[in-house]
């Protein structure tokens, strides 16, 4: 058996494949050139094979996004790498007042088929401006697509879906995920979980520890938080003999909650799990929709597990305190079962 593929390698392979398949795909961003190959090495090797289609930029996030928009308006398929997800804040005008609006505002005369890849997430001690999960801020922007890669999703396929989509796609990666092995379902299983995968682009994954037998709660999460949610699910079985289902969303906007609703129909309880700060996070939108759509199925209110509203400290000791952990998820489930 060969060494497991790490997520960074899977993403890198996906990019190489896309560059091979289409010559309208370009990569724009900071520090992309080999041998450096991007701050997190997701882009390694591209500039050597396709020197004309990898464009290393100055440090100008607002214009990197604006240039990609103009490039995409004219029929190219740029992929932008923003070095840290925290820096999408610099491009918010380009995103909110341009990229997200052109197609509808220009009455469908244009499309803006660009992809913005960026790593979010903490737990590396990078501190307040290099550790955030700001995808929450993108969920309030109509006209874009937001997807989040998890280690159990087909990362290459998710990238391909993003590039072929005519809408602007924000592709959220995760710093810890890069180094972890990609784990795909084999005969419907990943480790001790049975896994159901939807179809269409960016399908959600649903995990069950007892072959979708009776379960007492659903945990919905995405991206880098998936392993934490699965660990909580395992702990709940081992320590409290409580079975849960875990739904890992891949597409966060437009939000499709069918897999969650289907699971909640079975479990009657829902906990949302995200690394971003609590207020106005994705958990809020999920709770608002599920309490309305699944009112009769819910046996308890939807609970949210997220980071404390505040900055992400640099000191690991303080960072661990403020980011959500396995225990928080376990506690949330326990409270719902009271």
């Amino acid at each position: 058996m060969s060494a497991p593929v790490r997520c960074v390698q899977a993403l890198n392979a996906g990019l190489h494949e896309l560059f091979e398949q289409r010559d309208d795909v370009y990569l724009l961003g900071e520090d992309l050139l080999d041998p450096y190959g991007g701050a997190f090495k997701v882009s390694a090797g591209l500039s050597t094979r396709w020197p004309d289609r990898v464009l290393p930029t100055p440090i100008s996030e607002p214009s990197i996004l604006g240039i990609a928009a103009g490039f995409a308006l004219r029929g190219y398929r740029p992929i932008v790498e923003i070095m840290f997800g925290d820096f999408i804040a610099l491009g918010f005008d380009q995103i909110v007042n341009g990229i997200a609006k052109f197609r509808e505002m220009y009455d469908d005369q244009v499309t803006v088929p660009l992809v913005v890849r960026t790593p979010m997430g903490g737990r590396r001690g990078y501190g307040p401006t290099h550790s955030q999960s700001l995808e929450k801020l993108l969920l309030g922007v109509p006209g874009i697509v937001v997807v989040a890669a998890s280690e159990c999703h087909d990362l290459g396929g998710m990238l391909a879906d993003a590039v072929t989509d005519d809408r602007p796609v924000f592709f959220v990666e995760n710093k810890l995920m890069y180094g972890r092995p990609q784990r795909r379902p084999e005969n419907g299983r990943i480790d001790e979980f049975s896994v159901r995968e939807g179809d269409g682009p960016w399908p959600a994954l649903t995990f069950s520890g007892n072959d979708f037998g009776p379960a007492e709660a659903t945990l919905v999460t995405y991206g880098g938080m998936l392993p934490l949610a699965l660990e909580a699910a395992t702990q709940l079985v081992l320590e409290e003999e409580v079975f849960t289902e875990v739904v890992a969303l891949a597409r966060l906007l437009p939000l499709d909650l069918d897999p969650v609703l289907e699971s909640v129909r079975r479990t009657g309880r829902l906990v949302t799990v995200e690394e971003g700060t609590l207020t106005a996070g994705i958990g809020a939108e999920i709770a608002a929709r599920v309490q309305e759509a699944a009112w009769d199925d819910l046996r308890a209110p939807v609970r949210r597990v997220a980071a404390r509203d505040g900055i992400i400290p640099s000191a690991r000791s303080l960072e661990d305190e403020m980011l959500p952990g396995v225990d928080d998820v376990v506690a949330a489930v326990a409270e719902l079962r009271r």
Partner: protein, 310 residues
Amino acid sequence: MGVEADTRATGSRVGARGSLYAQLVLIRRFEETLLDLFAAGKMSGTTHTCIGQEANAVGVVACLDAERDVVVSNHRCHGHYLALTDDVDGLLREVLGREGGVCGGKGGSQHLCAPNFYSNGVLGSTLPLAAGIALAQRERRAGGLATVFAGDGTLGQGVVYESLNFASLWKLPLVTVVEHNGYAQSTPSHLQLAGDVEARAAAFGIATERLDTTDVAEVRGAAERAVAHVRERGEPFFLVVDTYRFAPHSKGDDFRDPGEIAARRERDPLTVAGERLDAEERSAIDAAVEERLERAVAEALAAPVAGSAS
């Protein structure tokens, strides 16, 4: 909207343009008509007219190849749009919110789109967009370029300099045209712009020219030099035209010194260009424009409001 969509798809919106003078008059009378429609309560929202500045739109666009070159514009975009597309009906219906608007009534005065034309009302944000379009032109290798119009006040936005840096580094076929009318809304330039405007672009290694004129022929001459520079060298160019708007910033109050406005009206671009024509030819053009606009307005006002058909 079916037909609209078709004409847009085939780019046939880009009609045969009249003489430079005819274009100046068309733009002038089109926008004066808009102000009248506002005053008459037949129009809502907002509008920014380029009355007094028409020579820039007409002179610059006259040097472009409407089939392959792209124009990116700002809030004050009617002149640029008409100079490129001659699409009186699509624009009029767009700003009036009637069926048949070039953006189906969604964009309105500041957000226009047609083949090879894009405008947005967020100041500065259009420069990176134009740089990206220029990048597409460069990669397509068909000799096309991008032209972006910006006002002097817009030079306050940092993305302008990010874009100039990219344009110079990446040798983008981009002509930036600064319409320097001395004001940003109510604020005179000296409260907004430190140092030297041309030097701001030159510092990025970009060729520049600045001229103070309302003569469409002079503007066209400078634009020809700019376009030639870009096409021959595959490098950006930065053109500053000192100009003046006769009308208020939008529809609102105008606190500029009436004497200042009157003095500038003596250099009205229509007068400058019109004096070169014999009286007969000129009044024939004027009459044709009136007739065209009257018909366009009548038809537009008779059209259903946007969305009612769909």
